[in-house]
Chain length 575, copies 2
Amino acid sequence: MGTESYTGKINRKLNKKLRIVEVAAGRQKADLVLKNAAYVNVFSNEICQGDIAVAEGLIVGMGRYEGEREVDVSGKIVLPGFIDAHIHLESAMVSPKEFAKAVLPHGTTTVITDPHEIANVMGTDGIEYMLQATEGLPVDVRFMLPSCVPATPMDESGAVLDYRTIDSFYDHPRVQGLAEMMNYPGVIGADPQVLEKIVAAQAHHKKIDGHAPGLLDNDLNAYIAAGVYSDHECYDPADAIAKLERGQFIMIREGTAAHNLEALLPLLTPQYAERCMFCCDDKHPSDLLEKGHIDYNIKEAIRLGVDPILAIKVACHHAARYFLLNNRGAIAPGYLADFVIIDNFQDFRIEKVYKKGTLMFDGREVADFPAPEVDPYLVKRSRDTFHVAHLTAQDFAEHRPRGIIGMVPGEIVTEDQGYSDHIDVEWDILKAAVVERHKNTRHIGIGYLQGYGLKSGAVATSVSHDSHNIIVVGTNEEDMAAAVNRVVENRGGIVVMDRGEVKAELALPIAGIMSDDTLENVNEALERAKEAAFALGVSRGIDPFMTLSFMALPVIPTLRLTTRGVIDVAKQQYI
Amino acid sequence: MGTESYTGKINRKLNKKLRIVEVAAGRQKADLVLKNAAYVNVFSNEICQGDIAVAEGLIVGMGRYEGEREVDVSGKIVLPGFIDAHIHLESAMVSPKEFAKAVLPHGTTTVITDPHEIANVMGTDGIEYMLQATEGLPVDVRFMLPSCVPATPMDESGAVLDYRTIDSFYDHPRVQGLAEMMNYPGVIGADPQVLEKIVAAQAHHKKIDGHAPGLLDNDLNAYIAAGVYSDHECYDPADAIAKLERGQFIMIREGTAAHNLEALLPLLTPQYAERCMFCCDDKHPSDLLEKGHIDYNIKEAIRLGVDPILAIKVACHHAARYFLLNNRGAIAPGYLADFVIIDNFQDFRIEKVYKKGTLMFDGREVADFPAPEVDPYLVKRSRDTFHVAHLTAQDFAEHRPRGIIGMVPGEIVTEDQGYSDHIDVEWDILKAAVVERHKNTRHIGIGYLQGYGLKSGAVATSVSHDSHNIIVVGTNEEDMAAAVNRVVENRGGIVVMDRGEVKAELALPIAGIMSDDTLENVNEALERAKEAAFALGVSRGIDPFMTLSFMALPVIPTLRLTTRGVIDVAKQQYI
């Protein structure tokens, strides 16, 4: 298709259009008709009745129709497919194909992803890998380009992306804009290198998503005036309304790490809901399997008293309009035949899911579909992201005093607990290290961690925000070295090591952050690894790997550990 | 700017952005601050309070600000500038500059125009003329490309526009899409030459406006499934809701010829209003001077009980979102500083109008601004659109029986009144003719007209939908020929002729449909011409020229007159 002439393209689309009009007008049979449907009409804000006719993957009409295939949906409710307005697909730790399989039963037919994690590892190759690995999936995956790689100047990531580096991606038909502009101090401070990313996105007529927890008043004005159109970090109504009334769209987030839905219920009312959509930001395997996806947001909203039709609009139509995906998020002529069929709003059991008129979930299983073909160079590149020499205990030896990062149960913020010059298991003072793994710099930042609870061995993971270096914590340097070496051998993932023996592990060979396996198998391996970590003493109140994965992110207070040592986040100084 | 590099463009925009952020953050003084404003917030659906700061023509923040210029607006209400979603600018019979001067005091800061009239005369030169003649005006003029030139195959227009002919205009930054697809039978009947126009507009990711009065059920589905996103022809709520619930946006029309606002009041409610906007379609000089523009729609809506904030949203925000003009239609950071300042919602007196932060109307007069420069070739071309040989009474002689078109007072539909073979002033049977004037074909269609009332002389006009040939009606062939010759001499316009003497006239030298003069002068000339026509006997119940201008449009029942004779519209046959 790449060499198709403009006339050829018009003629190809015209042929499809002729068929659509013939079917819509009732002169030809539809490909599929959902007979006797009750469906949510997001335009008239009510439940409408009628047959829904489909041709060429599109809805062509509602009323009375005949089809080659007819499915009686009497007594059910037909909804437009759901849209996740902001997710890092990598958070599910599986390939995009496996992700699609996992979310289809939950009614998701479109997600907008920010490939921020893989871009921190592989740069533009990471973005291209994700674009190719999502091409033609039965969940439409749209992209926002990572705006902050690396996340901070203190990070040693696999790539540095300025506006020119990502610019050509705006021409890709599935790229909708620039992803969450986390560097809000840079925006407000008028940093030219930050602002030119926004300017370039605007020059391409693209959307720019925000990320600015708690920003207020003139600083918020500056952030929005710069060209940031949405926010998904709102945690209370005052914060959200301050943004909404200045024109930002609010993505109400309910994911694995953050739960904002209940706090933001006042937004799910006629006064504000038009400017709201749902997102999950990140979704870990167990959460996806146990709670679901955007359907969970809807169910929760309805359970908490939100009008079901309004909740459905927030779950599909508003995101479609925001992202200018004007052919979805509604049941109407010309829209994609993406349907979710449920029993009723209270039980909200998803009985069938259609993508572009094809039944993808029949209530029991997901229909098979091929994995998108990815350029062999990119496949090879994605499996070869660790460049770290073999490590020994000596590499973790350090006798100078180093800061102690105090973990806070149930939180990702940390406390400054002074310093130490040795491991003290009795006082729960463990050694921690971040090993640079992209460019074989041999940079190893060392510090101490309190509150993790490990009594023996070491835990290492290459899922480590946002640069995805290897973070390791241990009771002794031998196991720390062994754990890191094992992560590298596995080309990424999680390892629980004790006395030189692998107690449990999960390999994540795609860029060190995603598995090739199914979501179920990844979840099982992850649960086994968690149990192994708990068995070695890790406190049951914390997630042994997720908590660890935030310890290297030098934007969250108070202390963090980078490849260059322990940093005081507020002062932006190494201690 | 045409040869600016991409990097140059980004740097230029970056410099502007840096200033915007500095001002928004409060580190630099704003260009303008509206102090102590109460303004309509279209996002939170309420009146908000605060200073509104402006820099670089954009709103940068609301709150507390200082400015180089400060204007206290205590006690007033600040609104976003109004948008007319669909207008044929030519209907005001003045140049675009004069049009802008006329609508600014009414708060209009953006109009979406369909240059259908001039395109029927000058083809793509007409579109280009209007684009150039609107460049940089203080009313932002956006374009929808004419979809139906000629309006029907029976028309002899100045040009024939297929999809390829107009295609390159989609690249123009002020072209938003394809204008009203009046040929709905062609769409529903799957005429490839009609559908490919829609396909091409979609390929450019553009909007497609509709025009389909009373279409229902599967035909309506077919029309919408084809890709038509709006309608401005709705005349009752059932018609409008049928379209709205299938996904079309409804442009509620209140113009000179059609008055749909009152009938469509049920749409101006929370259930439906999100999908509605205002338009006037056409606006004649006297109407513009006496009633106003979109402000009239708002005032009427409020008078009839519509919530003022909702009416304001319909008048600006909804059109902006529909046309993807995402930097206007709201008062928020990053939006154009287009303001309308009124005293209160009941009196709705417009006290000031700002365009991009510049005061354009101070309550008394409109600030001066330059006329856009138009390519001399196009200027010359626009003044040279009549190609008709000198006519004599003999050209209108005709002794075979011809159909009698019966005018209906207050309507533009006509009745079939049989036939005649001679003028009979006593029985009000006048001779009428349509003279082809674009290509000197010497085609003159002759018929009879009943109900016009003329007792002596002839009336001719080159404003004659949609082909703008010259239509003439008279009590004798000598005056008919003289009137047409005079129209041609004037390069277009309206002439009232009696016994070889010009009783009154209005020259419209721009394409035969627009004047170079001011709106006030055009209106005065038009009123004088009307009086002259009435003095010659034309019934006072009809508009002597507007009614005549629809007599040549072979899409409105029952009989019409074309350059080839009288046509039965329903049968599409000459009689």
